[in-house]
């Protein structure tokens, strides 16, 4: 469970997040959609303090933090509650696929190497990449790297998984394999906060869709409401851009 309360953030005097409150219940898949430059990435980065919000509160099931006076220790604790999948994967280049998945288990969770290894094999199996376990990131395709980075995120058993446009950097033919993996994880009951421009995917996977524009939440609701029955002009305007490839890119 994740609850954000009144998150504000400005860069050089420009308000990028204007008081965002958002709740993701356990087992929910909440998808953030909205135009570029709206603050979706910034919001995700605020959750784990990669960006420091000017104001606001965050709450997990048994942890709460006010961003404006967070101490180092609390930030570390906060970060261990969530895991992030980046648009550009950001795998550790000096480590093999399986070492990438093992790393946080060893460093942060203090598991033994053997334990971490076995757990990582299982996760690589889940994302369908066991046979690539000894490859370095540079030897893998973008889609494979992103699947490894999903396994890495799962490895720390986070309360919530944060995905920031996980398929935007990929060649079109590689998008499907990554969406498949995310879909499969969602089915296992993981709690997910996802930013994506894959609208048909958002519609099929989400329990809730949140439309953001100019640093504010314009509208939120079940996918059928947002995609088919929205009566908000800004939402409809935005979705119009996607109607063309809406049906075509059914990637599953």
């Amino acid at each position: 469970m994740l609850a954000l309360k009144n998150i504000r953030k400005s860069f050089n005097g420009t308000d990028v997040l204007k008081g965002i409150s958002l709740k993701v219940n356990e087992g929910d898949v909440v998808t953030l959609i909205g135009p570029s430059g709206t603050g979706k990435t910034t919001l995700l980065r605020c959750v784990n303090f990669l960006e420091k919000p000017d104001e606001g509160e965050v709450q997990f099931s048994n942890f709460q933090l006010n961003y404006s006076h967070a101490k180092k220790k609390e930030i570390l604790r906060l970060r261990r509650k969530s895991a992030m999948v980046f648009q550009q994967y950001h795998l550790f280049k000096n480590k093999t696929a399986i070492e990438n998945v093992m790393e946080a288990q060893i460093v942060v969770q203090k598991k033994t190497k053997k334990e971490a290894y076995e757990n990582s094999l299982e996760l690589l199996n889940k994302v369908g990449l066991v046979e690539k376990k000894d490859y370095y990131p540079s030897q893998l395709s973008g889609g494979q790297q992103q699947r490894i980075s999903i396994a890495r995120a799962l490895a720390i058993k986070p309360e919530i998984l944060l995905f920031d446009e996980p398929t935007s950097a990929l060649d079109p033919e590689l998008v499907g394999e990554v969406l498949n993996v995310i879909d499969q994880i969602a089915r296992t009951g993981a709690t997910i906060l996802l930013v994506t421009h894959e609208m048909s995917f958002a519609q099929s996977i989400s329990t809730k869709v949140v439309f953001m524009d100019h640093g504010e939440i314009v509208e939120e609701g079940p996918p059928s409401q947002i995609f088919n029955h929205s009566n908000r002009l800004r939402t409809k305007e935005f979705l119009k851009h996607f109607t063309n490839n809406y049906q075509k890119t059914t990637s599953l």
């Binding site: 570390l76 970060r79 969530s82 795998l91 550790f92 280049k93 942060v108 370095y136 720390i156």
Partner: protein, 230 residues
């Protein structure tokens, strides 16, 4: 004309100082890397006042020839140490001071400036994305450094450190001027005995060239190994 026998004899004699030259250069390299690390840290973190001093220092070291720095150190260092020893009531005689220490100090400081730039560049090469990925997984600053940044920075920096090692070896030929015997100095001593200058300098050149070629070859193997990953 060119006497091959004399050349061969000179080359053999010069070879005897190769190990000590290599060792001296290695010592200088290691000290300069440590100093360079400190400089890079001070300037990156903008440590109070020190980073201004460091910049001044850098500008001086880049703006004056190594030979001048060596002479400065040669005339200053023993005097400064003598004064310091007096203050601390330690026995010290500046006339017994081995000039090899002067060479170590002057060269380490001179090369530290280059090392600090190598170190800075190698850290930057790791890229911010991986650092954020580590932080997002809950790594502390030191865990990120130790597990992610430093291992990659070292791989990136090694070829450059290797090249500086070659520079140090070649620059040590200047150390003759303060009385430290390296490859070139040995060649000078050889030719002083028999006045066969061409042979002894040719022998010195061959020794340098061989050394550098062997090292470059080793470096090539290393780079091939790491290119597999990058």
């Amino acid at each position: 004309m060119f006497e091959f026998n004399i050349f061969a004899q000179d080359f053999l004699n010069i070879s005897t100082v190769i190990p000590s030259t290599l060792a001296l250069a290695l010592l200088i390299l290691l000290i300069s890397i440590a100093l360079g690390g400190v400089l890079a840290f001070i300037e990156q973190k903008r440590v109070f006042v020190l980073w201004k001093v460091s910049q001044l220092f850098r500008s001086f070291l880049r703006g004056t020839p190594l030979l001048v720095q060596l002479y400065l150190a040669f005339y200053c260092l023993p005097v400064v140490l003598q004064k310091a020893a007096l203050l601390a009531y330690l026995p010290f005689n500046q006339n017994d001071f081995n000039p090899v220490y002067t060479v170590i100090v002057a060269y380490s400081v001179h090369f530290a400036v280059f090392q600090s730039e190598i170190i800075r560049g190698s850290f930057l090469s790791v890229g911010y994305g991986q650092i954020e990925a580590a932080q997002a997984s809950g790594f502390s600053f030191f865990q990120t450094m130790r597990r992610i940044i430093i291992p990659q920075a070292i791989i990136e920096a090694l070829p450059n450190f290797f090249n500086s090692y070659l520079s140090v070896i070649k620059s040590l030929s200047l150390a003759f001027l303060v009385g430290v015997v390296d490859i070139l100095a040995k060649a000078k001593l050889e030719s002083a005995l028999n006045f066969r200058y061409l042979e002894s300098y040719a022998a010195a050149a061959t020794a340098y060239w061989l050394l550098c070629s062997i090292m470059t070859y080793i470096l090539g193997i290393y780079e091939k190994l790491i290119r597999k990953r990058a």
